[in-house]
Every structure is written in structure tokens, then in C-alpha cells.
């Protein structure tokens, strides 16, 4: 059962969790974007490997989308935006690195504790993949909670979404995996890059979400 195919799938999925941890403590925006590109690259490899061992050609399409969109186009576009907004040198205050790491480790433990007993009867490959995927999703959530900057929030969301694509790829024979990853890529690419960052900047002179919070109804009266 524990053949090489399984081990490599395990290694790549684990690689995504490790990269998610790397994302947690990047203070500089350009570094954060680069690590996200790495995250997507590992996703491409993981999905590509799943396609190979499951003999599922449609997953190659998913891997291709991950490579072109998430590892190349979106990071390039984000780099350009960050430079045009003039915030590429900004250091974001990241709470305590130690605190975030501990919280992250706890979340990974939680993912494993939740997923493994529940999926005892499932195919071991899908099972481990799912546990890792849930860990990546939770780490993405953690990143979104700890950050203030709009760009970082978006990266948190995209890393979370990478986790979901990993889960969809691990579920053997799941149809619509391609459609789902396309739907997600369109969602973020369209909204994030086209619409939000510039408009928010234009109206708020900042992409720091704390500036936005000041416009709550309570304070507007």
C-alpha cells in the first residue's frame, strides 16, 4: 500500500502545508507574493502527480490552470500592482511570529484529528490528502485573520483556495474538478486585480483595512 506513488503524493501535499507556514511570517509584501507563487507551484506538482497516479487526464488541466494562473499570472500582476501603488517596500506588522506558528501548528493538529478518524474507511490516498488540504485551508484562514493589508488578505484567500483544489484533486474521480478550479480562478482574478485594489486605494488612500473599518455605520452617524 505504501508505494512510491503514495509517498510522493504525501510529500507534495505536506510541502503545501510547509509553504503555508512560510506565508504566515512574511512581513514584506513582495516576499509574501513570491512565497505564494511557490505555494501554487507546489500545488501544480501535487495535482499533476495525482493526475499521473490516478490516470486522470482532466487533472492535468487543473494542474495547468494552477501553473499558468496562480503560479505565474496572478503573482506577476500582484507584483505590478504593489509597485504601482508604491507599497512594495512596506513592512506589515505581523503579530508575534511565535504566536502565529503555535496557532498554525495547533490548526494542523486539529485538521489531522478531525479528518483521519472520520475517513477511516476511505481510500488512504484521499484521506491523507484531505487532512493536508484541511490544514492548508485553516492556515489560509489564520493568515486572513492576522493580516490587515488588502493584498495580504487576498493572498490568504488564494492560499486557502489552493487547499481546496488539493482536496478536489485528491478525491478520486471527482468530476467538475477542472470547472471548479476555473471558477475559483475567475472569482479571484476578476475581483481582486480588476476592481478592488485600485478603487479602494482611490477612495481610501490606503489599502490598509483599518482605514476602511472607520466607515462603519456606528461612526457615520
Amino acid at each position: 500500500m505504501h508505494d512510491l506513488g503514495f509517498d510522493i503524493a504525501h510529500f507534495l501535499a505536506g510541502g503545501m502545508v510547509v509553504t503555508s507556514f512560510l506565508l504566515l511570517y512574511q512581513a514584506r509584501l513582495s516576499a509574501l507574493i513570491n512565497v505564494f507563487a511557490l505555494h501554487s507551484l507546489v500545488l501544480t506538482l501535487a495535482v499533476g502527480w495525482q493526475a499521473f497516479i490516478q490516470h486522470a487526464p482532466h487533472l492535468y488541466v487543473t494542474a495547468g490552470i494552477a501553473l499558468v494562473f496562480k503560479a505565474l499570472m496572478i503573482p506577476t500582476a500582484l507584483h505590478r500592482i504593489v509597485r504601482r501603488l508604491g507599497i512594495h517596500r512596506t513592512l506589515e506588522v505581523v503579530g508575534g511570529v511565535g504566536r502565529d506558528m503555535l496557532a498554525g501548528a495547533a490548526l494542523v493538529a486539529l485538521a489531522i484529528l478531525v479528518m483521519l478518524p472520520v475517513t477511516a474507511t476511505a481510500d488512504p490516498l484521499a484521506r491523507e490528502d484531505l487532512a493536508f488540504a484541511l490544514a492548508v485551508v485553516l492556515l489560509g484562514l489564520l493568515l486572513m485573520v492576522t493580516r490587515q493589508n488588502a493584498v495580504s488578505l487576498v493572498i490568504g484567500f488564494m492560499s486557502l483556495e489552493n487547499g481546496l483544489v488539493l482536496a478536489a484533486a485528491g478525491a478520486r474521480g471527482m468530476p467538475l474538478a477542472v470547472e471548479i478550479s476555473v471558477a475559483f480562478s475567475v472569482l479571484i482574478a476578476l475581483i481582486v486585480i480588476g476592481i478592488f485594489l485600485f478603487r479602494i486605494r482611490e477612495r481610501f488612500d490606503s489599502v490598509d483595512m483599518q482605514a476602511m473599518d472607520a466607515f462603519r455605520e456606528e461612526r457615520r452617524r
Binding site: 476511505a122 484567500f157 482536496a167 478520486r172 474521480g173 471527482m174 470547472e179 478592488f196 466607515f215 452617524r221
Partner: protein
Amino acid sequence: MNALGMLAMTALLGVPAGAALLLVLVPGYRLGARLNVGATLLSLLAALSLFGARPEANAYLRVDDFNLYLIVLNNLVSFTTSLFSASYIAHELESGRLTPQYLRFYHAMYQALIFAMNLALLANNIGLLWVAIELATLITVLMVGLYRTRAALEAAWKYFILGSLGIALALFGTILVYLAAQPVIGQGLPAMAWDQLLAHAAAFDPALLNLAFVFLLLGYGTKAGLVPLHAWLPDAHAEGPTPISAVLSGLLLNVALYAVLRFKMLMSANPAALAPGPLMIILGLLSLLFAALMLYRRGDIKRLFAYSSIEHMGIITFAFGMGGPLANFAGLLHMAMHSLTKSAIFFTVGHIAQARGTQRISTIRGLTTTHPALGWGLVAGVLAIAGLPPFGVFTSEFLVVSSTFARQPLLALLLVLGLLLAFGTLLWRLHGMAFGESQGANTPVRSSSLPLLLHLGLVLVAGIWLPEPLVRWFQHVAALLG
């Protein structure tokens, strides 16, 4: 017969999709608004024709008793809202809040939203359902930010972040359902089809199904505006164009709840799985009580009614959580009644905000003297939504309360407390707005009262007399829901 049904089903998706593409190209806003009305009318006719000829389910789409009722409701409200929207946007254009270019975009998006909601309701596949609801989220995010003001952008951003989180959780749940189904049904499309899932649900791994349901309830519950995942809803309703608030409250919340109910049916079909009822009861009661308390301090008229939507979603979720034929019947009825009444209220609120140039409740006074049609329309709408007889909302709320009293008196007390709180606050707010001395700006608005009258008329009729076939239909669906 069947060919006609297929045609109608195709039209339900094809007409809005085609109209969306066409409306991008149409330059004039008058023509655009007319086309918008025409396309929604066509979809409504297609939906109604499904009563006569029902198509066979295929791997992707299906029509059954449960979704047929929601499809008709969906297309009815989107038709009346397009009528309202035609008179609403003319004023927005005159006052310069929107430019013709934005209107082109707006009309195309309106049709795309109807396409997405019809697709979600028709879907026979949990993956397709998810894609459709994601599409609807994406479109409404764009619509909420249409005015490009700071507040609109903040609302759209918040909605985007929370909405996509919800959608992400729902996808994880969907994958888990597939994993539960795959060993029983086999790989591929059948393991994601509703009819197959429901037929084999008893054999699924209960632990996996439990976990899946938690993710799905939280995920789609975010889109239905259930507390504690409701934070996007008031902002999105208050800052977007009012026709969109009407569609959001009246339709999109129902579509999200429909998804939850479908998965609840799966859970009930598996005897070893967790009972979904208590979870839904807790979320429903929380939403009801929280929204009832929050109503009191609202300063913005659209926000007030947005919180009232959270309250009613809470009641509906609670009713379905209680389960059983009577409570399910009440839940189904309440879905329709809330959708009709709340969109009617937003129709009047949209024109009121235009007439007074503000959405602040404290500056809106004496509507019944300055704008009798709008003022009395608002009075009727609020009385209906607050649950006063003889309107249909009273009937469904009464059914929820009485069926709960019979089974769980303690829960019924909490329910009644929430209902009374909301009732009192809404009437108190209404009194200030509708009566008294009018002050401030007063521009006359051309408003069409047809959509309002139609909706309130239907609600009134439902409150006095429910036709026998409809009752039997609801009873049948209520039995399906378990």
C-alpha cells in the same frame, strides 16, 4: 410533453444568459430596461409552463416538486423587480448617481444573476450547485459596489471576503459528500447527482456525512445570512442599488437556504448520521434573537429591513430545523411569504430614499401625507412583515409557533420573544416614518405601484385563503423534507 418540458428548462437558463449578452451590447438605457423586463417575463412564462410539462432529470439538471416552487417564485420576483428597477434607475440616472455605461453593466449583470440562481435551483449535481452559487455571489459583489462610493466599496469588499469564505467552506463540504458517496455509488458524475445521492444516502459513511454537513451548513449559511456569519448582509443591502437589495433578500437568501435543505434531506435519509435539526434550530434562534435586538438601533432604512431579513431567515431555518410535516409546511410557506413581502418593502423603500434623498430613518417623517401611495405601501408592507393578520406572514409564523409549542414549549417561548421584539421595533420605526410632520427635501418620484400591489395582494390572499392544490403541494414537499 417531455420535449416541451426540456424546452422550458432550457429557456430558464438560455433566456437570461442570452439576454445578459444582448444587454451588454444595447446602448440606450430605456431599451435596456425594456429588454430586461421582457427577458424576465419570458423566464417567468417558462417557469410556469413547467407545471404543465415536467422534463426528465438528466445528469446535470432536474425539476422536482421542491425546486419547481422555488423556480416559479424566483422568476416571479425577478420579473416584478425588473419592473421596479425600470422606474428606479430612470431616477438614478437623472440624479446623476449612475451613468448610462454603468446601467448597461447593471442590466447585463441582473440577467446573469437570474441565470445563476435558476441554475442553482435546477442543478441536479452538487458541484454544479456550488458553481452556480459562486457565480451568483460574484455577480452580487459587483452589483453591491456599483455606486463606487466609499461605503459601497467597503460593503462589497466585506461581502466578497465573507462570501468567498462561505463558498470555500461549502466546497470543502461538497468534496466530503462526494467522498462519502464514492464508495457506494462509484466514481464519476452519478456520485454527485441529487437523485442518486438521495437514493443511496442510507449506505454512506455517517461520520463523513456529519463532517460534510457542518461545513455545508456554515458555508451556505453564510450566504443565507445566518448569525454569526451575517456581517456582510446589512452593508450589502444598504449600499447597493435597491433592486439588488430586493433580489438579495427575496431570492438569493432563499437559494442559499435551498442548498442547505437539500443536504439536510441527505442527512435525514441516513439513520446513523447526526440529526441536522438541533444545529439548524440553534443557528435559527440565534439569528432571530440577534436580529430582533439589532433592529432597535438601526439608523438607516435599508439596514433596518436587512436585519429584518436576517430575522426571517432565522425563523425559516428554525422551522426546518424543527422538522415534521407541520413545521416544514410553515417553513416553505414562510420562504414564499417573506420573499414576496420583503421585496415589496424594498420597492417602496427604494422610491422613498429617492424622494427624500436620504436613507436615514430620523429624517424621514410623514410619508403618508407627502407621498400617499409610497407611505401607505410602506405601512402595508411593514404590517405584513411584522406578522400582523390577515397577511400570509402571520399564517406561517403562527404555524411555526404553534407547532413548536406542541413539541418544545421552551423553545417556543424564545421564538415568541424574538418575534414580539421585532414586531414592536418595526411598528415603532414605521410610526415615525409614515406619520407626523414631514420635513426636509421632497422630490416627487414616478413610481410604478404594480409590483408592490401584486406582491402584497398575493401575500394577503395567502393569508386569507390558501388554494387547496397549493396546500397539497406544500404538504407533499414538507413530507419529502422529513
